[in-house]
Amino acid sequence: MLKEFINKYKADENKATRTGFGEALVAEGTKNEEIVVISADVTNSTCCDKFAKKFPRRFFDVGVAEQSMATIAAGLGISGKIPFIASYAAFSPGRNWEQIRTTIAYNDSNVKIVGSHAGIMTGSDGATHQATEDIATMRAMPNMKVIVPCDANEAIKATIAASKIWGPVYIRLSREETPLLTTPEAPFVPGKAEIFWDSSDSKKKKLSPQVCIAACGPLLANALVAAETLEKEDIGSVVLNVHTIKPLDENKILEMAKKCGAFVSVEDHSVIGGLGGAIAELLAKEKPAPMEFVGIQDVFGESGNAWELVEKYGLSAKDIAKAVKKAIKRK
């Protein structure tokens, strides 16, 4: 069972998902010479610096030019290379969305788009640098896969997996150091959601789950904390790590809908069109169930400490627990 691999979520060790990506680039770049990296003047903060230093011939800095980064990568990706393009998600895929759409997705070029500093947890830089719409805009694009790793270890696996999948993949990363929720050994299969908590298997109580909390990215930690709190109040739940938003693990989500009968989505992203949107589309079509959305409520963020912003914008464990109760009440 996967959860045996999972570290206790109040882990002492914190690490940013972008750091995991940087490590995987070097490791996989050593094995696979076709991997090339393009940066748009944010090489250090996207953690591409080690790759750049180790493989200078396979690293290109286009300057502050996200649009050309995308088109140049498109050309490399249809000429046998596996380009990773990395910038802040607000700019790539924010600014270069059309270039990604036409020259990477429609063109079926083997490019991996890495958007770091995604979500409100980007913190002090403020709303201009906090991408909260990128899952929606990338998910709507045919031929694009979307992965949001929950921690640095999962980011490593997602990066390696992306390099081995043909075609465009979007990987969404965070700036902030967040708890390590998984071990290096924990399984990761793109497109396969994993149960990280099931109250009916808990050692303390054996509560049958009344809600499925589906989360992606580092906020999965808050979902786990919420689940534990809810157990104390005799409310059973399942926490599902939906790291791949496209293709969505429809079987697993419908299985959870059947088992739990209500959903709460959790994401550091707008409640419009992200993970919650993807799940709601599926449920509406196949198995309607009450659902609450924990995410950014159609507003822009602001400067501040990442964890303070999590509280202020309603993404904390407390907010998740509240949403759970509301969803259950609507059953």
């Binding site: 050309s68 249809i78 000429s79 046998g80 270039q99």
Partner: protein, 279 residues
């Protein structure tokens, strides 16, 4: 490869250019929509590439060592489709499917629809970047094939194009050649009225490119310029090909209104008579 050009070969290319023009007119009338002026204006460039310059194999479009020809201004694809059909990539009669449901000949070219297209294009300013990616790939793999990118002048309004011009200059990509269709028109009017590009040549020079200006209707000059580009080892080359939009059909020439308009049956008949006079 040494490419000696003879009078016979030049005549051959000129004849192919006329055939391209003729096919373009027939395709556009059948399709009922599309871009006439630019397609006619670049017929000589396409003929020179497909029938002389390119190292390619129509029977094996994915041949790894082929030269790459990227069309950035995808809207003039009728001329490319015609050149491809005439050189044997697919049957001529397929040209009549342009823009129709289920056709491999999309209104703007799509790479995975038709072998030999190299890229997907239409949204402007994105072709040179892709050509740069290909040229980089050739460099990384120590391959000798060259990358050519055809561009319109109007698409130089796009900021993202200049990002790529700057990058190619930085990388000194001597295996990359851009051929710019300097026909002075865009949808809203004449380029120098809508958004002036001059001094055009100086812009490229200041970005670290070698620049050659030619008559874009002279296969001799087109081929000579490409050969000069091959001999420039320090930087990428931009060939500014001065062309007449609508070339070959007198009532279409130099009129920006023909940018995105197709001829009626009657106009097409007149156009074909004029084009075929030379064959």
């Amino acid at each position: 490869m040494e490419q000696e050009i003879t009078e016979v070969k030049l005549k051959f290319i000129e004849d192919r250019a006329r055939e391209i023009r003729s096919e373009v007119i027939k395709m556009l009338v059948e399709a009922g929509s599309g871009h006439t002026a630019g397609s006619l204006g670049m017929a000589d460039v396409f003929a020179s590439f497909y029938f002389h310059i390119l190292n390619h194999d129509p029977k094996e479009p994915d041949w790894e060592d082929r030269d790459r020809l990227v069309l950035s201004n995808g809207h003039i694809c009728p001329a490319r489709y015609a050149a491809m059909a005439l050189s044997g990539y697919f049957p001529l009669k397929e040209l009549q499917t342009l823009r129709k449901t289920g056709s491999r000949l999309q209104g703007h070219p799509h790479r995975t629809s038709l072998p030999g297209l190299e890229t997907t294009s239409g949204p402007l300013g994105s072709g040179l970047g892709q050509a740069i990616g290909m040229a980089l790939s050739a460099k990384l793999n120590s391959k000798k094939w060259r990358t050519y990118c055809l561009l319109s002048d109007g698409e130089h309004d796009e900021g993202n194009h200049w990002e790529t011009v700057m990058f190619a200059g930085k990388m000194r990509l001597n295996n990359l050649t851009a051929i710019i269709d300097r026909n002075n028109i865009q949808i809203d009017g004449y380029t120098e009225d809508v958004m002036p590009l001059e001094p055009f040549r100086d812009k490229y020079i200041s970005f670290g490119w070698h620049v050659i200006e030619i008559d874009g209707h002279s296969p001799y000059e087109i081929i000579a310029a490409v050969n000069e580009a091959k001999a420039v080892y320090e930087c990428p080359t931009a060939i500014i090909a001065h062309t007449v939009p609508g070339k070959g059909v007198s009532f279409m020439e130099k009129d920006y209104l023909w940018h995105g308009k197709v001829p009626s049956e009657k106009e097409a008949k007149m156009a074909l008579e004029e084009i075929n006079k030379g064959i």
